[in-house]
Symmetry: C5
Subunit: 109 residues, 5 copies
């Protein structure tokens, strides 16, 4: 899986019928320092992710292994919201701290 | 999924029999600012996409999950036409506006 | 799918038994201006492609969806020969013209 | 498969129900000289890998072929811990030597 | 498939039980001029490839279509040893010539 930050939403009315009911989110890949790369993906949302949240997304056929995406033509799915991650025992990200501090400012993006 | 703009068509008469009846479109990947990258893909069309439209396409085995592409040897399929997308609450693309304004000029490409 | 030009052949006698009878071709990926990239792939041939021809090839599990490649350990298959393609209504490639003019010179490669 | 070094852990409580019980590790891809690249992946752990260990991880649908990950929405799984590897007969890595010498220092990363 | 040269071996005792009995080889991707790239992969060996040999390897789910790798968590498998390949009718590699001349010197790598 890769880590990314949810930065947007995609709206589509004309689509394959298997996609009806799925929510599509724009996700920017992030590295271990939370720096957003230029790479982004449109992912189906299986966990109710919100704008600005750091998430895990699965790609390829693995993106179809959630109840929400089973047998649907999606190749990227958000399947977890990241609470925190550590590198060599040191905390690099805490959702709790970020939410409280407002450190991540969606408008400034 | 990735976002792209439909920029062309590919014609083939000598092909695997499983491909008969499918339409192949040339799609250029676009970023969040609608800038077309050099990367392009030939995608099967499952939704009747038109020239110049911004679309979502699925890759790999997920490209075979539409009725149009089931069990066929295609690894990229357009499965949705994008109406609009937002980044952090700000609209970055609106098909309605683009269609009305003629902002996207196919000939100038 | 990606577009490529057939530039070579690969011969192998010691191989997995599932591969017996398949023809392997060297394909160089091309862009919309027919410029060959450095990227190449060895693809199984499902349509009888010839040297110098512009083809479509499918990758991953989709490469196994042709009659010739079903259940075989191949991850790239030529499943169509390109007759022509257009970008925004303008013809960029025509197999008929190329064949007649001899514009594509295999020896010069 | 690719080789990587386990450098961190990811914690998530809100996730697809198929993921409950899986441990997610941050893995940095390494080259043949053990140099860590900037590329990293979040992989499910099928073998009880520890911090700092050099591992093999499988991607895509192959990541779901272990007992621990079967039918789960994961696209990367650590399926082996590397004891040693040789390049042209010369040892380039030995877990035994590294463990004994403390050459790999997690804190310094 | 991609072409590569076998340059090393990987030893692992702690691994998923589905991997027992498989041999893992380090393969460096090569281009049409036999130049090794920096990219390498650890591939399961389905054909008894030897050190220094030029091989074809399949990636993704296709890597699991050999008898040796069926249902196992491997995403790259050597499924053929290359005897020779031609580019536009000109021979670029011949295993017979290389073996005889000793042109490829494993030790010098």
């Amino acid at each position: 899986m890769l880590m990314g930050r949810v930065v947007g939403t995609v709206v589509s009315t004309r689509k394959d019928e298997e996609l009806v009911g799925l929510k599509f989110l724009l996700v920017k890949q992030i590295d271990c320092n939370l720096v957003e790369s230029e790479k982004f993906v449109v992912a189906a949302d299986a966990v109710g992710a919100g704008m600005g949240e750091v998430v895990l997304y699965a790609s390829g056929s693995s993106a179809r292994q959630t109840t929400a995406t089973n047998n649907r033509p999606v190749d990227a799915t958000i399947m977890a919201i990241v609470d925190s991650f550590d590198i060599m025992g040191q905390n690099r990200y805490s959702k709790f701290d970020e939410d409280r501090s407002g450190r991540f400012d969606p408008v400034a993006d």
